[in-house]
Subunit: 403 residues, 3 copies
């Protein structure tokens, strides 16, 4: 990986443990064409406006900054040249080169997105790390409904609601045995202003009946979304919650993590941790929740990748209120291994600049800065997901950047 | 114009095309007294608190930084001295000196504000640029109602609703023939949480009847506001939408551009572009909308003028999520030619510092920085408003700062 | 007090008047144990998450930066060592050393918080300044109800509503004779979306009857909260309003000061000033209100103390829209004299860096920067609370840092 921009502070790169990317996705197994590649640089699901390109974004510029040197090209070379070289190398070699340069030792992969994507172990293997699965609740429910409908032999009238809810409860318990966490995208499906208490069984059956009868498509019913959250919380596994910006399915003001306050209060006694993902532009709100509720954590996620050289400031904004034991690193990379490179490079650069700057001014001691750097890079995630010291040792051996 | 603060980066000033100020207003034709002058430095419509002055604001300090040297006085001289010199020179010479130093080549003037103000051509002539008109929808409706009432001969009972709506539709179509854009101030009149679909004809007539019967004063009826938006969108001309801060008529939290999401979705297929003005302090939200919806643009407007040396940071915040082909420059200057100077100087300074900093750190290439600088300064606006290459050439010749 | 981080600008420390801390609380009279000490470093009312500590926050790091040298220890020494030294010195000597190093000349103490805390004069005496009282409305109402119930001899059935409201009105008027301001924590009790008009007498009696009958516990009834605000506004004393973040009783999104807009409009003609406290992360919204409504002021309060080295940026964000005559300094210190040290040190550092930076770049003149520094540090508060020139002279003599 290219060196981060020089700062005045210590080079945290040299002392950081292998990163734990606690929220990411698989990458495409096959070579994307130019338009497909560009579509992964934005949260938009639409073509760019006439006269513009998705490469003219902070994400596009960051890819052109960090990735070409890993494919033997100069930084900032034109997109066409980069894509040509990528095709020349092929998807496997590209993935190996890019993921191998991220310094990531553990990949916690949300497997709920569509596409011909690498799975957790496959992703991790390309990068020299270990893979873990994060199970997306809404996808699990949709798959469970599809399986119940197929098995029901009812000629397409949908599954029985009680059988479905039983099967769903079993599926969540089953997943909890192997997955390290659950994730909900209720922000996309309904918004975060959900009633905090678990819905009553009768209400769940009524909602399930209606949804199944309508074909069990994209799950947006708030009763079922709350039921999924309740099932996940009951397992004790950490629950990742999408908050803040994302694709245009989402209404941004309905994804403010402050809207989760009542749910946070209602889950305070359960022993289950909540991890607020991305959060931008409401990351100060997320940091506040993490500061006053012991079971709430926040994540830099998608935010650093999409803000380029501004990642430094955005990380600093997170670190205003977020206790240093409560903020986690992730790339939220999806589809392109380039997004792993960019997410990890921007995180390292931002961390070096922010903590280095505070050390240089005397506000922090160097010892504290190194300790906090390790917390954010890996240790907080290890504690929350119970990844353990054995895994840490293994990753240090496997991850070529670990020292 | 005085040179911007020196930075480490390239001097974009030297290579920028003439600016396109895509949203501004006329300036006072006559010399304002001291209190009137001060009242244009703030969005408040009230006297300052006892013991304070509107000069003690970032706008006031910015005027005192940039403008006195253009009138042969030292920067930061006391307001009284500046105003005395201004009176000495007279309004025409002051306007000529100030507008001539802005580097603006095209002025898109919203003509819907009251006062004895210069029109588009008159404003542009003083600055050596070309003028274009932006038509404010609410003012157009109020004028149409007033004309209908006068013409109706009904003894003051107001115009006929059907005649009024017919006249209004004709007025919008007429305006679209010469104006480069429409503008709505629904944020002031009702807030941005408007139902997204065009209202039915019956509802429009009912609302028009009530408004006309009440004297057709300040238009605040949400049905009529939505009808105006629908009429404007149907013309295909870009629609400028006031969002974010403004005078105290407005409730700030009702002007968050995220509240426009449903309207944005409803207009996505129309071919008409929406330009979100000002946006502060919700500019990150506006940038998000511009990043995921192809027909949405955002503008720095009023925001830079009112934040002084913080304009650099605020511009950088816009450039976190906003695609570089989607952000537009404007001064939103109103009443005082000083606000054109301040708005353009702060934009140039901020652009130099932000893009220069990113180039110096290696995050961006110098070529990209120059290209993006030209997009923000002029090219994005030219594309959105269809100003054309002929206009560009003419402005380069007329605008004394163009090189 | 240790010197702030060196900047390029002038050392405002050397020229600032004694600070007016316009919103603070008493400190513990007795030595806290380690867990109690740590609990005052956070707005959380809960134990830290397993594996984390309240010392690993910006507030914790700031205490370790600024305070150990005042107790003869190196900056950034471990918490245990600091606490041991503190016990060695005892609470009186610790308080004397810490408060004596703050440069604060006037303490406006909200006396409505529980605990064995120093009162206004006692707090001020330890720091060499003068003390003033701010009366918390909700506490006053709860005390009045308790006294009425005791005096009523009704066997615990609660006080008579009319007697209570009469007693409350007298209590507010009585308090206005000696207190410099009132404060409301309606943000914690109901949220800031309160109907703006004073409630009718009948509604107040009905609400009072219900509250008294229920035991007159924690006051959360919106009618009574509005009534308290109306009583306070009628006295003409400035009203401090908690906005923005705080302990988890509060819902952050219900504490956005923009929600006060209707109340602000309704009180615009009363002659009473409103001071918005803390405001974070909605401080840009608060600054906007202060910019357009003459009777609205904003305060940096809790925000600087909790953001450590980010206080510089946060202060700069306040100073985007806030007129320079409208922003006030406070520490919001509570329980620990360390929080007075941190709040004042961060304010001085941030002020030096922000105004010094703007002066160095040429955006501001040095004269203006010094003048604005004095406004923020003391003069704005003196004007709003009518502290007068006599007090200023006395504080300069008593406050050892005054020059």
């Amino acid at each position: 990986m290219p060196a981060p921009a020089p700062g005045n502070g210590p080079r945290f790169d040299d002392v950081l443990p292998p990163l734990v990317d606690h929220h990411c996705h698989g990458v495409l197994r096959h070579e994307p064409d130019a338009a497909t590649f560009a579509s992964y640089l934005t949260e938009s699901d639409r073509s760019p406006a006439a006269g513009t390109t998705h490469f003219d974004t902070q994400t596009g510029f960051a890819v052109r900054r960090w990735c070409p040197p890993l494919l033997d090209l100069p930084a900032h070379c034109p997109p066409e040249r980069y894509l040509a070289r990528r095709r020349e190398l092929g998807p496997d070699e590209t993935r190996r080169r890019l993921l191998g340069a991220t310094g990531i030792g553990a990949y916690l992969v949300d497997t709920g997105l569509p596409g011909d994507l690498t799975g957790p172990d496959e992703t991790a293997a390309a990068g020299g790390g270990t893979g873990h699965e994060v199970v997306r609740l809404e996808t699990l429910a949709e798959r469970t409904a599809a399986a119940a409908a197929e098995g029901g032999g009812d000629g397409g009238a949908g599954a029985d609601p009680e059988e479905f809810t039983d099967a769903l409860a079993r599926a969540v318990q089953e997943a909890a045995r192997t997955a390290v966490a659950f994730k909900t995208v209720a922000a996309y499906r309904h918004g975060l202003a959900l009633a905090p208490e678990p819905p009553a069984a009768g209400a769940v059956h009524t909602a399930a009946r209606a949804w199944l009868a309508a074909g069990a498509g994209r799950l947006t019913d708030p009763v079922l979304l709350r039921h999924l959250v309740a099932l996940a919380v009951a397992t004790g596994r950490p629950l990742q919650i999408h908050t803040g910006f994302g694709d245009p399915d989402l209404r941004l003001d309905h994804a403010d993590p402050a809207l989760l306050t009542d749910l946070v209060r209602a889950t305070a006694g359960t022993g289950t941790d909540l991890v607020l993902l991305h959060c931008y532009p409401y990351h100060r709100q997320a940091a506040y929740l993490a500061s006053v509720f012991p079971h709430v954590y926040a994540d830099v996620g998608l935010t650093l990748t999409h803000t380029g050289p501004r990642a430094t400031t955005v990380l600093a904004e997170f670190l205003e209120l977020a206790p240093f034991g409560k903020l986690l690193f992730s790339t939220d990379a999806y589809g392109l291994p380039e997004l792993y490179v960019v997410g990890s490079a921007l995180f390292r650069t931002a961390l070096t600049e922010v903590l280095g700057g505070w050390t240089a001014s005397g506000a922090w001691s160097a010892d504290d800065a190194h300790r906090v750097g390790a917390l954010l890079a890996a240790e907080n995630a290890r504690r929350v997901y119970g990844l353990g010291a054995a895994g840490r040792k293994r990753e240090r051996e496997r991850c070529p950047r670990s020292r």
